[in-house]
């Protein structure tokens, strides 16, 4: 009798376990590299962003299309001069340990972000906030001077240096996320250890095996938990892309966030409907060192640009279908309404005509097949960069340019770009937030510091007073249409002078299982798990 009873209870327990296990929906995501940190003030990669954006929510959050929508804030008002943003927090918002999220958590977070001791890589994204850069530089030491205030527990007031049309978008970035003051007060920087971590977002990390995966489970304390459909997310570390595709095919991943580019065609053919290849905000480009002759000559730069057949790079060289780029601001960038996408005056010519014209320019300067212009083309070691460099080298050969290829690992490559130790170099930029200023800033004049010129990300050292004046003027312009026009004019000036050679707009290469719904390709390539659902 006892035996039977035992058997029945055991069977019942097993059935119960199985049913609860079956009802838990788990999303397995191939997430790329090992997260460097899941502290929003220390992170710097999109693979970290995927985890952080699922477990912490800022004042503003992203919808399925990655547009800024109210997150922890229920509503906000902006002062007439565009300088003061007042956010009203939602009622009942909590950290995952049940502690209320207050305006004080946001103030604390911004102070921590700018604190020089935090040494946050990406703090500069929030430099529009009053005294943000001054605190990071150490010229202002009183954190109360920061333009982020708690009016009461439910109200956050943010004052800016100047009107910043993209500020709400910037607030969706993880640098603007709150951090749990009560936990950091108790354990300091160890707060992201798995035993201490709490979040205020739809998921909370519960397990972290370095080199393998991070698991987050649905947070019942999240204000919109009722609409969150996936119960658990595994963010898998996976650097080898060919292996990633095998694991996807074996059903071990539901989402691939990157693919081996030589497999793009195969995926389109064999996994129809699962390829989410779509342009997103980023430009792949070559920089030309304008301090080295003859590259200070805009005609030389123009000839180099004209001779590149961009139409074959995306479809044929890479096989992923990247869209040719001729301008500097990616299509789909916000706050750029009314500006026609930039096109060089030679866009109407066929490729043969372009080569002929470029060849004529070079011949006029004395460069021919017999007496070619020799240059060094530097790129960071990577199969795709190499393929493109080889293709472009042969395109340049037609116009009397002989390029020697030189590759080095990423740290060394960018070190030499920054030092101006190159002639032509490969670079790329993914936008931090959707605004034209985020790419145009790459071409700005240097800041003088301790007697040396700091060129920042302007590796090619393009310098135009006219361009600079327009971009400067735009930073204080509040009328979005007028601002867009100024920035559009600035883009035209820089591109007419071939300040750099844009090659293609980046493509997000997601592969998503048919079981997953709610995945929307968008220009920011941000897909928060709360919008996804999965059927078995």
């Amino acid at each position: 009798m006892t035996q039977t009873l035992k058997a029945v209870t055991t069977a019942g327990a097993i059935a119960l376990l199985m049913s609860s296990a079956a009802s838990a929906v788990t999303l397995n995501m191939m997430n790329g590299s090992e997260p460097g940190s899941i502290d929003p003030h220390q992170a710097s990669g999109d693979w970290e962003n995927r985890i952080i954006g699922d477990y912490i929510e800022g004042l503003m959050a992203e919808d399925a299309d990655a547009n800024a929508i109210p997150g922890q804030a229920e509503s906000y008002t902006v002062s007439d001069d565009g300088l003061v943003y007042t956010f009203k927090l939602r009622d009942g918002i909590q950290w995952s340990d049940g502690t209320p999220v207050t305006a004080g958590d946001f103030v604390f977070a911004f102070q921590r972000l700018f604190n020089p001791a935090t040494a946050s890589d990406y703090a500069y994204l929030q430099f529009p906030i009053k005294n943000g850069s001054e605190i990071a530089e150490g010229t202002v030491t009183d954190f109360n001077e920061l333009g982020v205030k708690a009016i009461d527990d439910k109200t956050v007031e943010i004052t800016l240096e100047g009107p910043t049309p993209f500020f709400l978008q910037a607030l969706t970035h993880y640098t603007a996320y709150p951090v749990p003051k009560h936990v950091i007060d108790a354990v300091g920087d160890d707060w992201t250890k798995i035993e201490n971590i709490v979040g205020n977002g739809p998921y909370t990390p519960t397990e972290w095996v370095p080199g393998s995966y991070i698991k987050s489970v649905k947070s019942e304390t999240y204000w919109d938990a009722a609409n969150v459909q996936i119960d658990e997310v595994n963010y898998f570390v996976q650097d080898d892309l060919a292996a990633a595709l095998s694991r996807y095919r074996a059903g071990e991943y539901d989402i691939l966030t990157d693919i081996p580019s030589d497999q793009a065609e195969w995926i389109k053919t064999n996994l129809p409907g699962q390829d989410y290849f779509a342009p997103f905000l980023g430009v792949y480009y070559y920089v030309i060192n304008q301090e080295k002759p003859p590259f200070e000559n805009a005609d030389v730069r123009k000839a180099l640009s004209m001779a590149i057949n961009r139409d074959v790079i995306g479809p044929d060289v890479l096989g992923t279908g990247e869209v040719p780029a001729y301008g500097w601001v990616p299509p789909g960038t916000a706050n750029y309404e009314g500006v026609e996408p930039y096109q060089p005056e030679w866009i109407g010519l066929s490729y043969e005509e372009r080569v002929a014209e470029a060849k004529a320019i070079m011949e006029g300067l004395g460069y021919t097949a017999e007496t070619p212009l020799t240059l060094q083309l530097k790129y960071n070691t990577n199969d795709n960069h190499q393929r493109i460099a080889v293709a472009i080298t042969s395109m340049w050969e037609q116009i009397g340019v002989k390029a020697e290829l030189f590759n080095s690992e990423t740290a060394v490559h960018y070190d030499s770009l920054r030092a101006g130790d190159f002639e032509v170099g490969r670079a790329g930029w993914l936008l931090d937030y959707s605004d034209p200023s985020n790419t145009l800033d790459l071409l700005r004049q240097p800041i003088e510091q301790d007697g040396t010129m700091n060129w920042g990300n302007n590796y090619g050292r393009y310098s135009s007073d006219e361009f600079e004046a327009l971009v400067d003027q735009a930073t204080t312009e509040q009328d979005l249409a007028a601002r867009a026009k100024m920035l559009g004019d600035a883009e035209k000036i820089a591109m007419d002078a071939t300040a750099a050679i844009p090659i293609y707009w980046y493509i997000a290469q997601n592969v998503v299982s048919p079981k997953v719904t709610g995945f929307v390709s968008n220009a920011a390539d941000i897909h928060r798990t709360r919008w996804l659902a999965k059927s078995e």
Binding site: S37, T118, V209, S246, Y414, D415
Partner: protein
């Protein structure tokens, strides 16, 4: 014996110190730094970061700070992985790497010895040809290719084993990565065992044993195996070191949580703390394995003395 071991351990200390010093300075000579990425950091941030990791101090001072901490067992912070110290990352990853490497070592050695012995006894007969061919496959197919083939065949098409990843305690997740590691190790062991066994079987004392009327089994067990093992044992040391330190491709392809992949990625990222930590750990593993092999060798071969 005890004196021998003590002497060996003591002599390892200067070796370790030289290795740490060389590694520390060579790493700093390499161009680029831990904060050189695709984007230039604002000078303020860069200065803050450098101060945070003491990189703004004179190099020699940084060296003494590092060695001072090291003597207290502190490997310092990782400059890329902020949520863990180097020691934490190594202690989390090391057991896995050891488990993976030792499993492959034990299986590979047994398989290799048995296959080599069978081959030798059946020299130039069918089992020999088949085994030699299999051994060649294991030796010549590079591990990243073998990994991809196994993933496709057993992970995707047959769906017998997971194609990658790791769940604690799951044997199924270990099958493919261990196989990839076992094949070349078993192959080398088998080749050595076959060659050395054939040589031993041709010696005079084996002929004498046969002449005395001893059975094949007894000859093999009593007289042939032990001397035939000697060249194999001298390979097992480097072989084990290779399995423990060379699992980086396998860890990378199968996305396993060991320390092998830090070896390359940390060096490329110029993550000074992690490169040094990994190097020091590997150095100790290799020193320990070499010591172990020397002891075993002395036990197997009476001509080797402990002094």
């Amino acid at each position: 014996m005890f004196g021998y071991v003590t002497r060996r351990v003591l002599s390892a200390i200067p070796i370790a110190l030289i290795a740490v010093t060389a590694c520390f300075f060579i790493l700093r000579l390499a161009p680029g730094g831990p904060f050189d990425g695709e984007r230039a950091l604002p000078p303020v941030t860069l200065a803050n970061l450098r101060a945070h990791y003491n990189l703004d101090l004179p190099l020699i001072q940084q060296y003494f700070i590092y060695v001072g901490r090291l003597l207290q067992g502190d490997f310092g912070p990782s400059m890329v992985y902020n949520d863990f110290t180097v020691a934490e990352m190594l202690w989390i990853g090391l057991p896995f790497t050891l488990m993976l490497g030792l499993t492959a070592f034990v299986i590979g050695t047994i398989v290799g010895l048995v296959a080599g012995a069978i081959s030798a006894v059946n020299q130039n007969k069918l089992p020999d040809y088949v085994l030699v061919m299999l051994v060649m496959v294991g030796l010549v197919v590079p591990n990243f290719l073998m990994a991809a083939i196994l993933q496709l065949v057993f992970g995707v098409y047959l769906d017998w084993f997971p194609a990658g990843g790791w769940q604690s305690g799951s044997l199924a997740h270990l099958v493919l990565p261990v196989t990839v590691l076992v094949l070349p190790h078993a192959g080398r062991t088998a080749r050595l065992m076959r060659g050395s066994m054939i040589e031993v079987l041709g010696t005079n004392y084996i002929r004498t044993a046969r002449a005395k009327g001893l059975g094949q089994r007894l000859i093999l067990a009593r007289h042939a195996i032990k001397p035939a093992l000697l060249p194999v044992v001298s390979y097992l040391g480097p072989g084990l070191s290779y399995l423990l330190t060379g699992s980086l491709v396998v860890e990378q392809v199968f996305a396993l949580p060991g320390i092998g992949k830090y070896f390359i990625s940390a060096a490329l990222n110029r993550d000074y703390g992690l490169v040094l930590g990994t190097t020091i750990l590997y150095m100790f593993i290799i020193l320990a394995v070499n010591l172990l092999v020397d002891i075993i060798y002395a036990w197997l071969d009476p001509k080797v003395r402990y002094s």
